[in-house]
Symmetry: C2
Subunit: 326 residues, 2 copies
């Protein structure tokens, strides 16, 4: 394999599959993109992933002999022994032999991890976390996901699914969470939670610019709509974002007491244009909620890789495995 | 060092120093005990530790050539680089060169870690956690301490002081904690918290057998007094113990979501005679507060090493370092 100097990073999502050929230093040599068609039979979806990989290699003008391995970031939870996704509410791949099928189809090793672990590992190798050893990644989006890097390695734990940071309990008997439990971080700081809370306020007759911006169609509430509302100094939206940041900060403080990281990376859609507003609040509440000796020297920073986080992270996972195998 | 087949484990506490000569399989070959005299100058305390070590070797009828290293469990937080204790409210050893002084004095390597890490590592090597790889230790006493084992290694983190499990936030804006923050596990489930809550109830005129058992002297509230009150079905005491167990269970659920351990070991004075009452509540609330997929196969069990946890754990730390150095 002397000539094989690249890996493929695959970002598998509910709407699209992204694949990229990536060098060890994180340079993207070629890309491809396909619709996931998540409702189709598993075989077909896996075939689309393989096709997307082939197209990325073609786009990079490379041959297959130059590709060492494939890394895939997928929605979880995963069964690492079988190389399968246990349950994906949005993609028809539950229990499908993802790594088995693709490694046979493509003729090289295929590794899989969940999308937030992949995102965290990508930031650790190529982004904000470069050179650190103890890193926590928190991604604020529709839900809240997390990844933990301890001593330079992703922490998977016994079930392989460690890092469910959206489901840290912050309020005993608190708000109902989508997971069925109560008082989870996600019930306060995810976009889903924010929308629910905004809807309650509007029902109570509170005014917000959102009614003008999106009417009654909450699917239109993108990060840029949030930004518009913040620029307009909309009180209701500001309050929601600050609440989300505050609870995230408290969770980060708690995580610092537990894990003592040197860096906490905050990413995800909500951070997009609003990191100037959100990050200082997270830093402030984290500091108030952990021991000074453990806060000392800790950096709480925005994620850097943006839209390429998935493919670069998946490539980083593949490189990590390739090197471990040497 | 072909003949050196033992280590010394030292349990440094506010009242007494315990030392033991321990084989690699955890057999205790000899013991010694000295008063700490924690208010004396640091030199003198360190001298007492060294003397206690020498007495244990004599008691074991061994020579110093047979002792490979010393492990010490000490109240934290620690500075591992300097081998010092940063701050000990109860022992006059802040910033004293503990490992430096003792390794020179005794002529063998000396390693130090905080007492709850040592307790957790001891359970992992010689006690309830034998053969596991991902273990959490929680010790319920005057305060609440914790230790984390990930992939067979103690997790120290960036500050070296990871595992402050007593200061996981469970109730935003909750009860004031001794650490100055609010809503920490320790503010609900430590003996200190239970005493405060019992005192409040008594002030409100609630009846309890404790007034008969200990009068107004709360220093008499030992584990066995707790047991007596439980046997007498004292409502107030039962309520406090159940509250402590419930909050601990919620914290354990949260920790399972974060770290995905395969075993959680619950130890400390409060567990003593009351584990039959406390443990099922912890198990129940842990299960309710984490993902089923991460609870599957997790054992939540009592600590096994009892009074020897400190010396055996410290010995386990020393053996771990000795083996790593080979």
């Amino acid at each position: 394999m002397a000539d094989a100097h690249y890996v493929l990073g695959v970002d598998l999502g509910g709407t699209k599959i992204l694949a990229a050929v990536v060098s060890q230093s994180g340079e993207i040599k070629g890309r491809a993109k396909k619709k996931t068609k998540p409702e189709r039979p598993a075989d077909e979806i896996l075939g689309r992933i393989a096709a997307c990989c082939r197209e990325a290699v073609e786009a990079a003008q490379l041959s297959w002999a130059e590709i060492e391995a494939v890394g895939i970031g997928s929605p979880g939870p995963l069964d690492p022994v079988k190389g399968t996704v246990i349950d994906t509410p949005n993609i028809n791949l539950a229990n499908a032999p993802i790594t088995g099928f693709l490694s046979q189809e493509l003729g090289i090793p295929v590794y899989i991890d969940n999308d937030v672990n992949v995102g965290t590992f990508g930031e650790y190798v190529y982004g904000a976390g470069k050179g650190r050893k103890h890193v926590i990644g928190i991604f604020m989006g529709t839900g809240i996901g997390g990844g933990l890097i301890v001593d330079g390695k992703l922490l998977h734990g016994f079930s392989y699914n460690a890092g469910e940071l959206g489901h840290i309990k912050l309020v005993v008997n608190g708000r109902k969470c989508g997971c069925g439990q109560r008082g989870c971080l996600e019930a306060y700081a995810s976009k889903t939670a924010m929308i629910r809370s905004l809807q309650r306020s509007i029902k109570k007759g509170k005014a917000t610019i959102l009614t003008k911006l999106i009417g009654n169609d909450w699917s239109k509430l993108t990060s840029s709509v949030f930004s518009q509302a913040v620029e307009a100094k909309d009180k209701l939206v500001l309050r929601e974002i600050k609440t989300a940041a505050r609870y995230t900060g408290i969770a980060v403080g708690s995580l610092i007491n537990i894990l003592s990281p040197e860096m906490v990376i905050i990413g995800g859609g909500l951070m997009g244009n609003l990191s100037d507003l959100i990050l200082p609040i997270i830093q402030d509440y984290a500091k108030q909620n952990c021991f000074p000796i453990m806060y000392e020297g800790v950096e709480i920073v925005p994620a850097q890789l943006g839209d390429d986080a998935g493919i670069l992270g998946a490539a980083a996972i593949a490189w990590d495995k390739v090197q471990a195998a040497v």
